[in-house]
């Protein structure tokens, strides 16, 4: 019987060894600012910011990244063309402007890789926030904290010239087409909720796969956010065009991109304040003009 007890004890210890250790709450900094309450000014002084690495802003995005959100290449970057370190492209330029507003210099911004579907994994994050065109929704906000929105996104349809979707003048015309979208995007929600095509939408891991299927004629059109649609039709698939953009459609009204933070990250308040500042002093508009200026003159369906 003693042997049994010992054996059970050993098993129990083995099991216990697998259990995670208590983790210290990440309470560097003051730790009083939570959520979106507007923090006192000195809390947002650069030296008081509770960042992941002291004196640095660690920013996550996926690899690869795509124009027009990121563009330009930097030698030695872990990202091939484009590299987020370039400061070029809307989100890269926005991130550096935000860093400056928070009091960080360019070389204090550290980029790390984070696939989209890991941004909402529970547990500690190895960065301050993630920037990768993530739409803010109430359901998602249960798993992560969002910053205030930094871009108002409309969805748009790209189609190959000559395909049935290219001549669509109403959402009704799109019902009989074969559409595709990237997983996790509002484009997909839009197809399913607003268009409701007869044939179920194809769903791809990234825009590269969706583009391949479009080029091959395996699908008639893809729904992506408008700036991405512009880039794809202008540069990547020349014989395609942006057929329409959609707005004021129930369910996706007022869609905005936000930065994502680990749930309860005390940094959110100060970042929100900095984004609002960039909005009110016109910096964000200027960045948008510079990198997303094509986004006009597209017929609106809806």
């Amino acid at each position: 019987m003693r042997k049994l007890l010992i054996a059970v004890a050993v098993l129990a210890l083995t099991a216990a060894a697998c259990a995670p250790e208590d983790d210290e709450p990440a309470a560097n900094g003051t730790g009083t600012a939570t959520g979106t309450t507007s923090p006192a000014a000195d809390e947002c002084a650069t030296e008081n910011l509770p960042t992941f690495e002291e004196g640095q802003l660690t920013v996550a995005t996926s690899n690869p990244v795509f124009p027009p959100w990121f563009s330009g290449k930097v030698e030695g970057s872990d990202w091939k063309n484009p590299s987020p370190q370039s400061g070029e492209g809307f989100e890269s330029a926005f991130t550096y402007a935000l860093a400056e507003e928070l009091g960080f210099s360019e070389d204090q911004v550290i980029w790390v890789e984070e696939p989209f579907n890991k941004t909402y994994a529970p547990g500690d994050k190895e960065y301050d926030f993630s920037v990768q065109e993530i739409s803010i929704t109430p359901k998602r906000a249960e798993a992560v904290d969002f910053s205030v929105g930094y871009y108002d996104a409309n969805q748009a349809l790209i189609a190959l010239e000559g395909s049935p979707a290219a001549d669509a003048t109403s959402i009704e015309d799109l019902k009989s087409t074969r559409l595709g979208a990237q997983i996790g995007t509002t484009g997909l929600t839009f197809i399913e909720e607003a268009i409701q095509p007869d044939q179920e939408a194809q769903v791809f891991d990234d825009t590269s796969a969706a583009k391949a299927a479009l080029e091959n004629g395996q699908i008639d059109g893809i729904v992506v956010d408008l700036p991405t649609a512009f880039y794809i039709s202008a540069v990547e698939i020349p014989n395609s065009s942006v057929v329409a953009q959609f707005e004021n459609v129930p369910g996706i009204e007022g869609e905005q991109f936000g930065l994502t933070f680990e749930k309860g990250n005390p940094l959110v308040g100060c970042v929100d304040q900095a984004i609002e500042q960039l909005k009110s002093d016109g910096t964000l508009d200027a960045i948008q003009q510079e990198w997303l200026s094509d986004v006009v003159d597209v017929p609106v369906l809806g």
């Binding site: 697998c18 529970p122 249960e142 798993a143 997983i183 395996q218 699908i219």
Partner: protein, 299 residues
Amino acid sequence: MSLPGGGGPTPGARTPVPGDDLQLPRRPTLRDSLRAEGARGAVIATISTAVFIGVIVIAAVNSPGWARVRESFFDGEAFAESFPDIVSGFWVNVQMFLIAEALVLVFALLIAVLRSIPGPVFFPLRLVAVAYTDLFRGIPTLLVIFLLGFGMPALRLQGLPTSEMFWGVVALVLVYSAYVAEVYRAGIESVHPSQRAAARSLGLGQWQAMRFVILPQAVRRVIPPLLNDFVGLQKETALVAVLGVREAVREAGIYSTSTFDYTSYLGASILFIVVTIPLARFTDHLIARGRRRREATGG
């Protein structure tokens, strides 16, 4: 379980038969090991298992991050909400693996037979078979799926299908035939050369010896490892999702990425397990039956 030849598993309960000492000791199964320990053993096994699992569960549930993990992975509401779509996606997986398995059975056998044909004239055929198995076991399945699923339609050849599911199944058949061909070959090589010699001496030709003597024995022996590869194939149907196909894991991913909740993947896992476990038990059953038969015939 009364067996011809008295091969019961309880020690001491079997009467020695002539030639008994020549039998290889049989590997005890999980059930055998429980039976051998008797009632007291069963009690101890139960306590030990309960404590072992209990400690793991308690450690997980009391860990500081458990509340977040439970919300993200074990959320009943999210499960109920996502499950119907996942079930309809799973039907796509079932169609893909049933079609692929039938094709693999035939195609892999062809490759294995090609590889086993003796004689210098057939060297090119053997070379093709070897190159095929080496190549398709070496290339990641994902690449084969991309290459066929997006590459073939891009060729824009008349008459070539563009369906993602079609090319996904073709890719799975190519990759898994390479594995299964090796399984078949192991079976063919396990048949003693004297069998072939005996068949030839009875007047059967090369091909007839293969068809009527070697293959029936070979295939029977390799059914368990063959089914093992099918379990792998069933799960890998999920890879076809990269082409845009809405199978179970993709449906789970769609829910997960739009709600930031991983619970939907649990639903997909359960469906795969529901199909895999009966197949695994069936494989065990076949292994046990094969062993009993060999023991019964003294072979």
